[in-house]
Symmetry: C2
DNA sequence: TAGATTGTTAATCGATTAACAATC
DNA sequence: TAGATTGTTAATCGATTAACAATC
């Protein structure tokens, strides 16, 4: 789905690449690099310089002719575009294997995800402590959301429970859902659902390995 | 990159959707559903029935006019297409936060990823036991690969180490690399690299939430 | 200034969708 | 048989790339 920012419509394909720009620029900032050209950056990333410049043009003018881009300036611009200045209060629902992995992974707090509570419907694990979070009953979810002003819900339940949980999250005022369940989530218009399936990349890898000898040489 | 299977060239966009078909069909098989039409399945998945039928047509004819698809048959066909009948011997390099999360996550073994060894260069954690795996020194990686006949390497190191590790993996005979580092990996022609960045979905969610009021209504 | 590199236009390329003949 | 639904064609739509005037 394309997005309108001011008078400009940003294509879906461009939005999907923004996090990639963020990742690469973060590394370059850490390395202390001062300037980079679209040609150099695009080569690092394995895309064309044309695409890089075209993508950035949807958001403004960030470079200087004959010079290129100042790395920290471009990085900050991308952070601003992505909305990384904010912190989002978040709950996670579904403390299975995947849920536990995500709770233990610190990478998201760096990006502004502020995990407040974790929930499950399995009595056997309610009360358990994981990485400093106590597992709460799903029964408590609905009131918790409003009391704490939760903005984002992470769904790591089985497919069968995902829509039901999404409905509770939405009723509780959440405006963003990060869904890991293999289930399409239906929502009202003003709730954003983002689907992530970490196993998908592995299956693509298997497919390409299987058909390796028949890879198009292009 | 499109892939040629037999006489047919499969578009990259189709390959990216194959794991999604796998996920949804797996759920339907578990639920014991016998038949489904392209219209029903596509609605579940949030795509058009046209796209579903078009996608499948690159691999053969799996349905019956007037009836639809037999769920288990279609599921098995997708498994076959993805190459899920095999097991792949795998190592993981980089036992940081993300690496630990992946080692603890059981979801991959179900799909045919057979983790054999885990490696890091930090002396402080070499010898540590994680989910039944002992952390080995990266020094041992190269000989280990050949001795064990490892086929896939998972890279969860910082960006700065990723290419160096990839070179060792390739020299050791690995033909598939699943890269989680924010670093483009250069390889020889017959090594497949698949990049996965779990944080990207979160950033897309932030972006869309920030620009929510300006969403294209379409 | 001369060389480098941007931002943008327009052409090309690829992906999606609508529509329908074929047929179970 | 009649109704339903596939597989496929062709048209539409969107994304990528090449090229270059503008300019630092």
């Amino acid at each position: 789905m394309p997005i309108r920012t001011g008078p400009v419509v940003v294509p879906a394909a461009v939005i999907k690449r923004l996090p990639m720009y963020y990742r690469y620029l973060q590394v370059l900032v850490d390395e202390g690099l001062e300037r980079i050209s679209s040609r150099e950056l695009s080569q690092l990333m394995g895309i064309t310089s044309s695409q890089l410049r075209q993508d950035l043009s949807y958001f403004g003018e960030f470079g200087q002719q004959g010079y290129g881009y100042k790395v920290t300036e471009l990085y900050q611009a991308i952070c601003e575009i992505l909305g990384l200045e904010k912190q989002y209060k978040t709950v996670l629902v579904g403390v299975g294997n995947l849920g536990r992995a995500l709770i233990n992974y610190q990478g998201f707090s760096r990006r502004g995800l502020n995990l407040k509570g974790i929930f499950d419907n399995n009595p056997a694990i309610i009360g358990e402590n994981i990485n400093g979070f106590t597992v709460r009953s799903v029964e408590e979810l609905r009131p918790y959301l409003q009391k704490e002003g939760i903005q984002i819900g992470v769904i790591t339940t089985p497919a069968s429970a995902a829509q039901e949980i999404a409905d509770i999250l939405i009723a509780g005022g959440v405006t963003g859902i990060w869904n890991f369940a293999p289930q399409h989530i239906s929502t009202l218009e003003d709730v954003i659902v983002e689907n992530t399936h970490i196993g998908d990349g592995l299956l693509s890898l298997f497919f390409k390995m299987k058909h390796q000898e028949r890879l198009e040489l292009k």
